[in-house]
Symmetry: C2
Subunit: 469 residues, 2 copies
């Protein structure tokens, strides 16, 4: 069904009140977990549970219907069985609900033409009423900066707040990414499970997120779209741009068939997708972890002005691993200016590799020397980006804190990706503080640190149209 105007998605993401239709006290029901998510997530607006047979849910008064609540309802989260959704949606319309998260499954994705028909009717009702709907067949959605967790997964509220918005066609992948974000300290703004896309698709979310001040990077997980051109056209039409990344599955025949059943769309030809997305300036990534790593780097680092990388490392092996990844993916190892080279030589004995990569091993116990080397290399006009690696043993707890002023000085000028590893308990707090302050972008291995830089450079190249790889 065509729409003549864009939905206002603000009531979805920043509602003043949220009704949970199908709220429950029974932990075996999704309506219980939605309530838990909203409450534990610290949502500051009104929570309005709706349940025909309970006067109280999780210590809060409940009402038998939406209409029974005197308050205005901005967002309704619907978790009733599929057969009752149409009626609830009608009530939403009558109540003046401004946005819906429809968690219930059993529509277009099922092996029964009735599902498709029911979804079409829902779409017509919602769209005619001007109600944007996330779902059906979704875990829900999260606005971290509004402390709104309108999903059945309370743990989403543990993900750090930050600049990465995720729009996912799969609940499983969204959960995977959220847990990886939790582990790797990736700050997120929104997490949206599109589900069957009743009347909201990637393009609509893109339009909203590109204007969203809390969102610095838009990360998409795609399987198949009804009309991939729509997304590409909308991105092209957008006046603002924000780094936008996509991880697309369903490349093989099997995945393609699975997608049809999963979300009701064929995954389509992988190469055509890749080409179209790149043309629209969307950076393709090839795994969930790579999507998140790239999003993390793009949400914090400035873009590199060129492909010349400096690899600074506490040990030679990890430096070689990072160099290989850089060179395999179109980055070059910078040739330092003579002044930089002199500096490095003054801090490191001939035993070290002092060109590029730089093996800072011999300066291991000299935090000041390591700081001075990082600084000299950052100042070098031949260097567009830095990878800093330290596979920590047990000897120098001080090194990391000593580097802080240099991180602070360079954070907005040149991209710097770190892989600073230590056994549990050694650097945890310091690393966490540095990451929370946006002073470093930390990756779990040297190879992934290098790949994050590759993503930065590829996005920079896509954006300027200078390079196509």
């Amino acid at each position: 069904m065509p729409r003549d105007r864009l939905f206002d998605l603000d009531p979805l993401f920043n509602p003043a009140s949220v009704a949970v239709v199908g709220a429950s006290s029974n932990p075996a029901k999704l309506g219980f977990h939605v309530m838990k998510s909203l409450i534990q997530g610290g949502y500051r607006g009104r929570i309005l549970p709706v349940n025909p047979s309970a006067a109280e849910i999780m210590g809060r008064p409940a009402k038998p219907s939406l209409q029974a609540w005197p308050e205005a309802v901005d967002l309704a989260v619907i978790v009733v069985p599929a057969g009752r959704v149409e009626k609830v949606l009608q009530q939403c319309r009558l109540k003046g609900v401004r946005g819906v998260v429809l968690i219930t499954a059993g529509f277009r994705e099922i092996d029964d033409p009735q599902g498709e028909k029911m979804q079409a009717r829902l779409a017509e009702t919602a769209t005619r009423a001007g109600i944007p709907v996330v779902g059906p067949n979704t875990f829900g959605m999260v606005n971290r900066h509004h402390d709104l967790n309108a999903s059945f997964t309370p743990e989403f509220s543990r993900v750090p707040k930050g600049g990465v918005a995720l729009v996912s066609q799969s609940g499983g992948i969204a959960h995977l990414l959220a847990f990886l974000a939790l582990e790797n300290r990736v700050g997120m703004s929104k997490i949206v499970g599109l589900g069957n896309r009743l009347n909201l698709d990637f393009a609509d979310l893109y339009d909203y997120l590109v204007q969203d001040p809390d969102t610095a990077v838009i990360a998409l997980y795609l399987e198949g779209l009804d009309d991939p051109r729509e997304l590409v056209i909308r991105i092209g039409r957008s006046k603002t741009t924000k780094p936008t990344l996509a991880y697309k599955t369903g490349r093989g025949t099997t995945g393609n068939a699975a997608s049809r059943s999963h979300t009701g769309s064929l995954a389509g030809n992988a190469a055509i997708y890749q080409g179209a997305l790149k043309q629209a300036g969307v950076l393709p990534l090839d795994s969930a972890a790579a999507l998140l790593d790239a999003a993390k780097a793009l949400s914090i680092c400035p873009l590199p002005l060129g492909p010349r990388v400096a690899v600074l490392s506490g040990q030679a092996g990890p430096a070689m691993a990072a160099c290989d990844v850089c060179e395999d993916h179109g980055l070059r190892l910078a040739q330092f200016e003579e002044r930089t080279q002199r500096h490095i030589r003054s801090y490191l004995p001939p035993v070290a590799i002092r060109t590029n990569p730089v093996d800072m091993g011999p300066a291991w116990y000299d935090a000041e020397a390591i700081g001075a080397i990082v600084n000299a290399v950052a100042e070098d006009r031949q260097v567009d980006a830095i990878v800093l690696l330290m596979m920590y043993a047990s000897a120098n707890r001080e090194a990391l804190s000593a580097l802080e002023p240099f991180f602070r000085r360079w954070r907005q000028k040149k991209p710097l990706i770190t892989c600073l590893l230590a056994p549990p308990g050694i650097w945890d707090d310091t690393l966490e503080d540095l990451e929370r302050s946006g002073l470093i972008v930390q990756m779990p291995t040297p190879e992934r640190a290098a790949l994050a830089l590759v993503a930065l450079w590829r996005y920079a190249a896509l954006k300027t149209g200078r390079v196509c790889w």
Copy 2:
């Protein structure tokens, strides 16, 4: 210098006594950390600190020289400055020391011909005396099953005991891998830092490890070898075989030059290495994480008899991601037998993807159904291997324990790789128990689960010579 016989490496890995020459009470000295590693690692033999100017180190009596100890010394860990190493090595010879870990750096790897000469003299002394030497320029080595941590990194002793032996040309990469092993619960047997390879090289370690009952898989990190053929020939000559994997860096020009400085050997032509290693039956991997993932899978799983994979998942998206990786790397999605298909249909409604991949989402709350599906698929003769994925939300803590009998039943029959994810605190203990008992091989993402299966299949294919990819 040619050798007419192989060294006996047993005293290195299973010494009855360990002298630390250069032991220190000063935390700024490596000799302190070596002592700490030995003591905290729980080494059960005699620890004999040697220091000319301390009567006691870390609460243990010290002697001014090796000779001053009346006991026989099996292993000497040397951490004195480079200029004093020759003399200490002579003392080792006189004392009848049977193995040396030479941590000191400053030999062949330095930018001074004196370093190379000094190393040649050391090699001659050691080899003539029949003393195998790990190093110089190494962190040391670890035998987890003997509780021997003869390194300057006490944290190596936190790595779980298990079947993966690591021989690394880089200390940094060895530390990286050990920390990843700690995080991802990979059981290790030995961790060896070859350093400059005075008189022990990959080939010697291979010969030892292939006979080592504690080692199921040999993982190599290579930069450059003086004579790569030597390793290939020795592997070919070996009567026993064990899965052997290699991660090789120094592919680019920069890395190659760095390797020369780092360990005194050119990294050499990447393609020649890959070809030679594959011919010898060594599986090449392309990152530290991939090396460890493959080693973990090979140390626990049986090999697949064919390339036909079943992907069972709690959600469709992660299944598609895994299918893509499988199909991109030469695995096929199995077509289930009719009996299996009937079983699956009896447990899952038409809403689910019931072919392959199987979306077990609708059976989410029914641990018994999930168990029965896993079992039916494992029994299917069209299935050579299984990937089991669950991106956990918060609803069913029981599912995992309910699967245990099926894991137990199938562990030695068909390879099964899992990616069972949960927010911190939910499954931690259960997952840890299952992994510790070798019942599951857990990977951190669906893509890496699929890649681990790819590694199993590639190794199986290499071994039988049936497939070359």
